[in-house]
């Protein structure tokens, strides 16, 4: 099993969720994060104080899936989260050893 973790633009959440359910992935976890990268930030001014703000609001999505679905998931996310403009975000994939569903104690693929 793998976790596909994606950093996306906040307003893309609904589209990504739809794309994932479209390919049969019905569970995911979302975190509000701030991202720093090539996308340039903005300047905020509060009376005399100017701040160059380089962290931009992003969402992190984590989806645990059986390894054989990873490609499909990546594809769904890239397609639905893309605007073509700098700052669209990244996808990272890493392996997990185990998955457990707390309610039932089911493990691994059954737990997802």
């Amino acid at each position: 099993m793998k976790i596909v973790m994606a950093i996306i633009k906040p307003f893309k959440l609904e589209e990504v969720r739809d794309a994932l359910t479209g390919i049969g992935v019905h569970g995911l976890t979302v975190t509000e994060v701030k991202g720093y990268g090539r996308q340039k930030g903005h300047t905020e001014i509060y009376r005399g104080a100017e701040y160059a703000v380089s962290f931009l609001p992003k969402l992190k999505i984590e989806v645990a899936v059986p390894s054989d679905q990873v490609a499909k998931v990546i594809d769904a996310i890239t397609t639905s989260a893309k605007t073509g403009q700098i700052g669209d975000g990244k996808i990272f994939v890493y392996a997990i050893d185990q998955a457990v569903r707390i309610r039932t104690g089911e493990t691994d693929a059954d737990a997802l």
Binding site: F11, E14, H42, T43, E44, I45, Y46, Q85
Partner: protein, 454 residues
């Protein structure tokens, strides 16, 4: 003069009679009468300090309605990234309107000119001093002209600020400021002159409007609708979630609107007498009726009564009772508030969606529709048979028709005027920021700041 006919005699008459170095005062008002030259005055005009206090309080209350009241009510309903833009729009628009009022607005509204607009004789408040007095609706009861100017100023400040809710989250700040300046000049001042000034077109027509349902609410609601349509929908409207970012702020704002509205409605009586207290009780109970109305209908229609619904009803009720504040009995006021609330509910939840325009904060759905219900309803609840105070020569059908005509004229004047001004502003500075900027949020893009940091 009885309450039955003073409305027709009316508000507009008063500001025209500023007396310089005038007015003998009763012995109990030695301070204000200090310099009065008794021999110059035939009739005994009095200034009562209770009235002066009430009008100062009322003016302050209308400011309170505007900031923070209206600003918060609107600001709480937008997304966090546009919060400051809304606060800023309401605040700066109100401030600019205050300056224009002093510069030429008061003069254009409340001096002689033609049937549509006044002149420039009191531009920059020329000739107004602490000795100048303004009429009230009672013979020989006067108030200092400064406080009349201030009270009317607050009306002209909040009206354009009401409009910005209709196209919140998507219009450029420069466009909004420019629009407001043109709109107040070419739509509001003429409407105020026509409705409130004794030589105005509508004044003699006999339409009842206690505290400005037509000039303020229908006027603002319609301008908002026109703006919402011309500027177009918010990016993502209908696809992305756009829930209110802080309903508690909206609730504070709505409550402050209620509190401040007493200045608006009861202050419109220009003195502190029993008629004023009638406007006070109506502004209480019509609103209570409207809160209950929206709560019940939403409970029935949607299964759950929401807090946003209750405060939407609150504002709808306040709007509806505005033209009828001193012209209805308390029971009539309750019914008017209740009915207006239910009509606004259906408009905002059903009709608006069917029509498909994006009036961000339902300025038309609440102020426009509520204003129309109130304007026409005033012609009904005023009936003595329904517990209203009545007016001389009242006949329900005729009065309702007069009220309807006033609404229609507002639609024509304001609708056409607003549309022209929006197109003009679009040509001069452009109405909308780019889609990218709209996505980022107006706070950062237009004002360089963010509402919240942790």
């Amino acid at each position: 003069m009885t309450i039955k006919n003073w409305i027709r005699a009316g508000l507009p008459a008063l500001a025209t009679t500023a007396l310089f170095a005038a007015a003998a005062f009763a012995q109990d008002n030695p301070a204000t009468g200090a310099e009065a030259t008794a021999e110059a005055v035939a009739a005994v005009a009095t200034v009562d300090k209770g009235d002066v206090t009430w009008m100062m309080v009322s003016s302050i209350l209308v400011l309170f309605m505007t900031v923070p009241g209206l600003a918060l009510f609107y600001g709480g309903l937008v997304r966090a990234k546009n919060m400051l833009s809304v606060l800023m729009q309401v605040l700066v628009v109100a401030a600019v309107m205050m300056l224009l009022w002093v510069f030429y607005g008061y003069s254009l509204s409340f001096t002689s000119g033609n049937a549509f607009i006044g002149g420039f004789e009191k531009a920059f408040l020329a000739g107004v001093t602490t000795e100048s007095l303004a009429d009230t609706f009672s013979a020989n009861v006067k108030i200092p002209e400064y406080i009349f100017i201030v009270f009317q100023m607050t009306f002209s400040a909040i009206t354009p600020a009401l409009i910005v809710g209709a196209f919140a989250e998507r219009m450029k700040f420069s466009a909004i400021v420019l629009f407001s300046i043109l709109w107040v000049t070419f739509v509001y001042y003429p409407m105020a002159h026509m409705v409130w000034f004794s030589e105005g077109l509508l004044f003699l027509h006999g339409a009842l409007d206690f505290a400005g349902g037509t000039v303020v609410h229908i006027n603002a609601g319609l301008a908002g609708l026109v703006g919402a349509i011309i500027v177009g929908k918010r990016t993502g409207y209908g696809k992305e979630l756009m829930p209110p970012h802080s309903l508690p702020f909206a609730m504070i704002g709505a409550s402050v609107l209620w509190v401040g509205w007493f200045g608006f409605n009861a202050g419109s009586n220009l003195e502190a007498n029993a008629g004023t207290t009638l406007a006070v009780i109506n502004t209480f109970v019509a609103t209570a009726g409207a809160i209950v109305g929206w709560t019940l209908i939403e409970w029935l229609a949607k299964g759950k009564p929401s807090m946003l619904g209750a405060i939407s009803g609150m504002v709808a009720g306040l709007v509806a009772i505005t033209p009828a504040a001193g012209l209805s009995g308390p029971l009539g006021a309750i019914v008017l508030g209740f009915v207006a609330s239910i009509i606004c509910f259906f408009f905002c939840t059903t009709i608006k969606n069917a029509l498909g325009y994006d009036d961000s904060l339902d300025v038309f759905g609440v102020h426009g529709v509520g204003g129309i219900v109130g304007a026409i309803g005033t012609g009904i609840v005023v009936a003595p048979a329904l517990g209203g105070p009545g007016i001389s020569g009242y006949e329900m059908g005729a009065q309702v028709w007069i009220q309807t005509q006033a609404v229609l004229l507002t639609f024509v004047w304001c609708g056409i005027g607003s549309a022209i001004i929006f197109y003009l502003v679009n040509v001069i500075v452009g109405l909308r920021p780019s889609v990218e900027k709209e996505r980022e949020g107006l706070d950062i893009v237009e004002h360089g700041e963010r509402a919240y940091h942790s």
